[in-house]
Structure formats: C-alpha cells, structure tokens
C-alpha cells in the first residue's frame, strides 16, 4: 500500500486534518470521511458535473481532484454554500421554478450557477446555457434551470448592494 499523506484543509470553514491514501478523490473524502453527501458521483471522469465543489473560491470537479491536492486549501460544498446563505435566492428560485426533479445534478448546477452570477451579473439566456453546458441533467431538459438562474440574476439587479 502507498504511503499515507497527512493533510490539513478547511471544509466549509471548519479545519480538518486527516491522513489518507493519495488515491482518494476529494469527492470520496467528502462523502465517506466527512459525511457530506451532497456532492454526488455521476461519472467519475469529469464530464457530468454532479461532483462540482468549490476549491479556493473556484468550482472544480471533485472526482478529478485528489484530496491530497487540497492540502492547505479551502473546500466549499453545497452544504456549506447553503449554510452561508449566499445562494438562498438561487435555491428558492430553483424550487419555485421546479428547476430540479430527481435532484442528483442539482448541487453541481447550483454551484456552477453561483460562479456564473459572480462573474457575470446579467447573463443572457444563451450565456447561461453555455456556462451550464458542463453540467448534465437528464430530468429537466434544462429550460427551467435557465429560467431560475435568469430570474435570480434579474432579482439581484433590482436589489443593488444586497449580496
């Protein structure tokens, strides 16, 4: 067996230390060791986006990042993002517009949408579609997701300085 590596990181603001196998992805570490099961595994080759998390303030694929690579970094999952309240308007719009059905893609979708809106406060529908084209959804056909994000952007525009 390979040498275990000692790592320290922040997960949703909490300091975490562990000694782990290098081969464990951060997605598996979050799910199995930390019990944070909101990050989902849909393909384990980086295509579907279900495992999207934030690492030092940018979204990354949890299945394409080994936990050891996150040493000294800050990880945010959907649970942490939810608790922060930062995305509560986005989440409310997802619910009211039914921008999720089975919910498996949703954490990844929401974090991707969050990143888009931080970069581009007034995206066109086409820009929203393009940005989300790395997140696979089989249930909704995407339109309701675009609607929910568009609504959130417009609401934020109407409430300057709120977020």
């Amino acid at each position: 067996m390979a040498d275990l590596i000692a790592i320290t990181m922040k997960i949703n603001g909490e300091p975490v230390s562990a000694t782990i196998e290098p081969r464990q992805t951060i997605a598996d570490f979050l799910r199995s060791t930390m019990g944070l099961t909101g990050t989902h595994l849909g393909c384990e080759h980086g295509v579907c986006g279900a495992c999207t998390i934030r690492l030092n303030d940018v979204t990354v694929r949890g299945c394409l990042t080994f936990a050891v690579q996150c040493d000294g970094m800050a990880v945010e999952t959907i649970e942490g993002a939810s608790e922060s309240g930062r995305i509560s308007d986005l989440q409310e719009n997802f619910v009211s517009r039914n921008a999720l059905q089975c919910g498996f893609c949703t954490p990844g979708m929401v974090l991707s949408a969050d990143e888009l809106l931080a970069d581009n406060a007034d995206p066109s529908r086409e820009e929203i579609r393009e940005h989300l084209s790395g997140n696979y959804c089989r249930c909704t056909g995407y339109q309701s997701i675009i609607d929910a994000i568009e609504t959130t952007a417009k609401q934020r525009q109407e409430r300057p300085g709120d977020e």
Partner: protein
C-alpha cells in the same frame, strides 16, 4: 360534457387540482440534503466490484482468483459456483406474449458469457477501491466464440445460435393483420416506402444503479435500500430468487436520482449483492460505476423497420405495413420481457389515424450485446417516428401540406371510443384540437415564409410536426395477465393526525417527477386541508399500501385516483365525528383549509386540530355509539380500458447547416392532452424533460458496437448526451380530455415528450433537406450523415 360532473368534487373550495404547487421535497434536494442509496452507511458494510467479461461470447475455461484473494481488505471472491445455493436463475417470459422464449439467466456467468460486461466474478472488500484492485488481479481464461451482432442475419442458418437449447435466435415474433392490406396497396394512388434505422441507446440516469442489501440472519430479514420505481415488485423478486419468505423482505426507496424505466428491471449484479448479503449476514453495497452502467444498464430501441404506406390521390391514408426487426441482448429481460418494446411498435404505429388496413410483423432476435428492455416511451418513439415520417412523405408526394394531410386522416372526434386496427382501444382523444392549438402557437405561416427566404443559402430551415398517441395507466393487461407479479393497482392510506394535518401513505413512487406533490394536492383537496399540512410517505414496502409503483406514466391516473377516493372516505369519516361533536347532520358540514365549516355558509365551526384532539384523546366526551375512524384506505385499478391512451402534437423549428452538417434547434412546441392536469408546472416540466430525452437519440445518442460485440463508446466522453447549450426552449400548451373511467380524470404524461421528439426532429430535418432533394432516416442524425445525404461527401 361529463367533465363538469366529474370535476365537481375537484372544483370545491380548497381544491389544489390544476394548481402549480411547488414540490416540498425539492427544498432538501437543492441544499444537497437528499438521501440517495450511496449516501446511506450501515455498520459493517462491505463493497462489491465485479470482474466482467471482456468478450461478447465466450466459454469460461478457468477462473484464477488466488492472487486477487491476497489483496488486504478483500473478504471473499465468488463465482456462480459459490452462490448457486443462494440464488436461482430467472427467465424473462410472460404468457400473453405467445411464443416468447428466453434462456435462464444467472446472477453470475455460468460456464459461458454472452455479452461484454456480463459479470463473471464478484469481489467483496472493505472498500470499492480495494475491490477494484482485486478485480484487476483475477485471471480468467476465456475461449472466445463467434459473436452474433447483426440482427438482420441473426436468424440465418449460418449464424451461430446463442442458446442452442432454444433452437434459434428468435426471442419473439408477432403478426397483426387488419382489413385488406393487399387490396389497399393495389388500389392506392400513392405508395411511400422507407427503411428506417433506429439507434440503440440507453437511459443514463445521473444516479447510477445502486443497492444496499442488508440481511440480518437473526430475524431472517432482508432489507434492501434501492433506487427503483417498483419497490413491491423488487421485494417479490428478491424473495423469490433468494429463497426468502416474501414477508421478511423489505424494500426502502428514499431519493432516487432518475430512473426513466432503467431501474425497473432485474440485474445480475444487484441480485448477486442480495445473495452475498444472505451468505455473509451483513450489509453489501453495490453502486454501478458509469462504465458498468453503459455496458449493463438496459439498452433500448435497436430496430430496423421496413415501412410502407398507401394513400389515395386526395391524401387518405389507406393502409400501413411495417416489418420490424429488433436486436436485443442474449436474454429477454426479467420480469417485463424484451418483447414489450416491439409489441408497442406494432400496437401504436399510426395511432392517430383512421386507416382500417394494417399489417405489421416484428421479429425480436437475440444478439451478443447488452440486454434491451423498457426505457421511457418504450416502443412509442419508434412507432411515432415511422408513421409520422410516412405521413410527411405522402404529403410531399401528393403535394399536400403536412398539417392538411394529418387533419384529413385523424380519427374523427365523434368516432370514440375507437378501436384501432392494431386492436388498441381509445376512449377519447383530441388530435384535431391539439394540432389546431399547436399551429396557433407556432405561427406557421411566418416560419414557412422565413424558410423560403433562406432556401438559397447554406443554412436551411426546417419545420417538423408529429401527432401521437401515448399509452398510460396500464391495467393488468400489460403484465399481470402474463403471469408477472407486477401490480397494476395502487393504494393510498390517509390519516388525520391529532394536530389537524394529514399523513398520506401511497404505493406510487417518486423519482423526481413530482409524484409526492400531486398525491399531496389530491389528498389535500379531497379532505379539505392546507397543502402545507400534508405529509407524504412513499417508497417503503413495510409502510405503504401494496401497489405497482410508478412506471408507464401511471402515478397520477392510478395512484392519484386512489388518493382521491381515500381522501373522500376520510372526509366522510371526519364529518361523522364532527357531526357527533357539533350535534349536526354530517351532510350540513364540510372541511375547508383545515376547519370544519358549515357547508352552505362556509362559516367556521371548529378546527380539525380540535376534532383530532377530542377524537384521539377525549373520546369520553363523544356519544357512546361513535368509534372515530380517522384513517381511510382506498385502492384503484383500471377496469374499463386496458390502457388510458393520451395524445399530443409536437412541432420543431430548426436549422441545418449544409456546410457543416450541424443541426441547430431553434424552438420546440408541444400541445399535450393528458386528461385532468393536477399540476400544470409539473406536467410541463415532464414534457420538457421528455422532449430533450427524445432529442438525444435523434441527434447524439447511440451505443456503438463493433462486429465482435465490443461497446466502443461506453463513457460520457464518447456517448453524447444533450447538454444545455444545444437545447431549445420548449413551449407547452395543454388540452384536457379527462378520462371518464375515474373521478380524477387524469391520464399519464411522463413519456409522451420522449415518444414524440425523435420523429419531430427527423421530420424537421427532412423538411429542411427536402429543399435540396435529400433525406435522412437513420438516427442519430450526425453531421456525417447529413453531409452524406446532401452529397457533400
């Protein structure tokens, strides 16, 4: 007409029927706080990985697991020999599909392998990663055999017979003949012929197949945490094949990450997990990874059809003739069989039309590829695409407008109930109405004008239409009559709690479509409470009534009717107690928004919570002869019609780039009629998701096999799925033709989008290509195929 009477109960104050209530179960999902099978961790769980066949057809000479067994963390490695006392094989046949035959299928390969990906050995280890390490070290010696991979030659003498004991590679054959097809073609003024190919593709639910089997030897109880649509069916099958008392098997479904029919079937790896849990007496978890999903989740819709249509000179469709061949896998899948898809192709082709002459044949043949079985829409996407293509071709040949030829041939609105030439019986449909509404929404004249203006350039516009019938709400005619223990009835128990809210336990299930929400809407409406005071319980066979679950778009029509009737019954029971408390005739009272009210004046008499308090805790103050029964259960099964057929009309506006072969969908419209709409937003969203799932195989999705049976694009990098950037906005309109067989009047809607989209896309592309004398009939319509059709390459 009867809509007024049947809707009376649902039009009461407090009715949520017809309202876009939001899903309360969505709140936890959007925060990442759902519970999918892999999120569940039981103590002492062990994990499975499988050594799978790399060959499509081979004899297993030897299996050497010695080195693999030494990997630290590996508990056991088993082959079929090791589990033969724990699991019996299964055969996917049903009596009512006459002549359908299939060989017994084993949980692990039994001496031979029959498709690439078939499980050969199972490794049980303390983690999935370790189990996979051991799989790498298992050495299997195979003797490769010739693989049967061409369905068109599967029945020829020279082709090896996959299961010699069956005699040939024919799984099932069926003929339908109605009217005088021969004469119709002889008399026809216009004949259209086509050979269409439909591409094998698969469901790709984002949550893969997942199961935890937890056998407790102390009480001989097996608990299965599953991601499935029919928990009672799963309970029966696991009990049966693992030799357990069915009463000691419990299936629990929590959140299911998409299913679309894929998770309705019996899978060797899941059954193996069950057997191993019984063997080891501890929880065994198996989660299929994405590569395993592509090679072993059921595939669907691998067909080649020769189709002919006969028309009169003024556009009457006189006859349809189809010869279908479909290549499934080496087994008919259990328990629903792999003959149903072909059966539906035969039963539904030409559904909307009034032709009397119909001849159809299907041959379902075995191949050494992955198994095939029911997947959203089943045979309907093919039935629709075939007929609608022929209708369009007929229109082109006769110089008619595609809308005109359809309207001419629709079953007239006064002809219902109507028996189609295939034998399908339609209670009532609204083809004319849906198409009229669709044309208004589409602004057809403007689109045709734009098409003409652009016809000289490299970008061609196309407009495609489709009218369809869709099968929903099946009765026992679908499976039960064939001997399958698949319930076509469902039940609902509703209980008034002392707090004044209701708890509603239903046997239909949720995979994201909104089943829990519509049941809550119906229950709240029927009893008279606020929707926020309704709690829904579903998915646990120990708790819910015995029922069929959700499939074939039956949740609203069947589960909903049971909920309605249970709610009405509970309301009656509550009012009996209310009458006793208030010293009033129960008939003079009603329940509205959680309050007992005066029926006539709607004046509040007492809150339900007060009634609950008295009935549960202070029965001493009730009259002696009253035994409050604040719970009611009702079941429902379709008795009048074998199926509730719905209908819809689709349209698509797209562009074909004749330089690159790329197709860009500009917009899509659907007008659907699923009877009483309980939640318009959920119906529209099911339609949208279904349409995109049908656009997938039209443009992108295909399971590609080599001649020797290797799946060469079994990953999400190579199997292309519809993503957000390429999908259109989809406008959805509704027409409501309730079924009169239930008080609710609801039919199903989950699959119609998928049934209509492939044919609509094909028709739109061909409408564009026709301007250059080109045509495509082999899905998916890749740039390569379009360029070829245009003669560019």
């Amino acid at each position: 007409m009867n809509k007024i009477l049947t809707q009376a109960f649902l039009d009461r104050p407090n009715s949520y029927v017809g309202r876009s209530v939001i899903r309360s179960n969505a709140k936890r999902l959007v925060q990442g706080r759902g519970t999918y099978v892999d999120d569940i961790n039981l103590p002492r769980t062990v994990h499975l990985a499988f050594c799978r066949s790399p060959y499509a057809h081979a004899e297993i000479v030897s299996i050497n697991k010695e080195e693999a067994e030494t990997v630290p963390g590996v508990l056991r490695i088993v082959t079929m020999e090791d589990i033969k006392d724990y699991c019996t094989p299964w055969v996917g046949v049903l009596d009512h599909l006459k002549g359908l035959k299939s060989a017994p299928q084993w949980p692990l390969a039994n001496g031979k392998v029959f498709w690439q990906g078939e499980p050969v050995a199972a490794v049980i280890a303390t983690s999935r990663a370790i189990a996979e390490d051991a799989v790498d070290l298992i050495d299997v010696d195979f003797k490769e055999l010739p693989a049967v991979t061409n369905m068109m030659t599967a029945l020829e003498k020279e082709t090896p017979v996959i299961h010699p004991e069956l005699g040939d590679n024919l799984c099932f054959e069926r003929d339908i003949e109605s009217g005088d097809v021969k004469a119709a073609f002889e008399e026809a003024d216009c004949i259209v012929e086509e050979t269409l190919h439909f591409n094998r593709h698969t469901g790709v639910s984002l949550e893969p197949r997942s199961i935890i089997c937890d056998y407790n030897p102390a009480d001989e109880m097996l608990t299965l945490y599953m991601s499935v649509q029919c928990p009672h069916m799963s309970k029966n099958l696991f009990a049966k094949h693992l030799g357990l008392d069915e009463n000691k098997v419990r299936v629990i479904c929590k959140d299911v990450g998409g299913s679309f029919g894929i998770k309705l079937h019996t899978y060797s790896d899941e059954m193996t997990a069950g057997a191993l849990s019984v063997m080891l007496g501890r929880p065994v978890k198996f989660v299929a990874d994405r590569l395993e999903s592509f090679t072993t989740d059921v595939h669907a819709r691998d067909h080649e059809l020769k189709a002919r249509a006969a028309f009169s000179s003024n556009g009457d469709l006189l006859a349809l003739k189809i010869d279908d061949v479909t290549g499934i896998g080496p087994y008919s899948v259990y328990p629903r069989t792999s003959g149903i898809e072909a059966n539906q192709v035969l039963n539904l082709t030409g559904g909307p039309y009034r032709h009397k002459n119909y001849k159809a044949n299907t041959k379902v043949v075995f191949q050494n590829k992955n198994v095939m079985c029911q997947y959203r829409g089943v045979g309907q996407p093919i039935a629709v695409a075939v007929a609608e293509h022929l209708i369009d071709e007929g229109a082109r040949k006769l110089g008619m407008d595609p809308l005109g030829i359809r309207k001419k041939n629709f079953i007239p609105s006064d002809a219902y109930p109507y028996t189609a030439p295939s034998g399908a019986i339609y209670e009532r449909q609204s083809h004319q109405q849906c198409l009229d509404k669709l044309v208004e929404m589409v602004d057809y004249e403007a689109l045709r004008q734009e098409q003409i203006e652009m016809s000289g350039g490299p970008i061609l516009r196309g407009i495609g239409f489709v009218s369809l019938v869709e099968l929903t709400n099946p009765s026992p005619a679908f499976y039960g009559v064939g001997g399958a223990k698949i319930a076509s009835q469902d039940g609902c128990t509703i209980r008034l709690d002392p707090t004044g809210g209701i708890t509603c336990s239903t046997s239909v299930t949720e995979q994201g479509q909104g089943t829990e929400t519509i049941i809550a809407q119906i229950a709240a409406s029927a009893v008279g409470v606020n929707i926020g005071d309704v709690r829904i319980i579903t998915g646990d066979t120990d708790v819910v009534p015995y029922g069929g679950g959700t499939w074939a778009s039956r949740g609203a029509g069947i589960g909903g009717e049971a909920a309605l009737q249970a709610g009405k019954e509970l309301r009656k029971n509550i009012l009996k107690v209310a009458g006793a408390i208030l010293q009033a005739d129960p008939g003079s009272l009603d329940i509205e928004k959680g309050l007992i009210v005066d029926f006539a004046t709607r004046k509040e008499r007492m809150p339900l919570s007060e009634l609950g308090r008295i009935a549960y805790f202070r029965s001493d103050i009730l009259p002696e002869n009253i035994q409050p029964e604040l719970i009611a259960t009702k079941h429902f099964v379709s008795r009048s019609y074998p199926f509730a057929f719905t209908n819809a009309a689709h349209a698509c506006h797209l562009e074909v780039d004749t330089d690159t072969g790329l197709v860009k969908i500009l917009k899509y419209w659907v007008v659907e009629d699923c009877g009483t709409v309980i939640n318009p937003q959920l119906v529209a969203e099911q339609t949208r998701g279904g349409v995109v799932q049908g656009i997938g195989p039209a443009l992108y999705e295909e399971c590609l096999y080599t001649d020797d049976g290797q799946l060469i694009n079994g990953s999400m990098a190579d199997y292309l799925l519809p993503m957000a950037a390429e999908m259109p906005d989809i406008i959805v309109g509704h027409v409501e033709t309730p079924t009169e067989t239930t008080e609710l009047g609801a039919k199903g809607v989950g699959e119609a989008g998928t049934a209509g989209a492939p044919g609509t896309i094909m028709n739109a592309i061909n409408d564009a290509l026709h301007q250059r004398g080109a045509k495509v009939v082999h899905m998916p319509f890749t740039p390569d195929k379009i360029l070829r059709a245009l003669g560019k390459i």
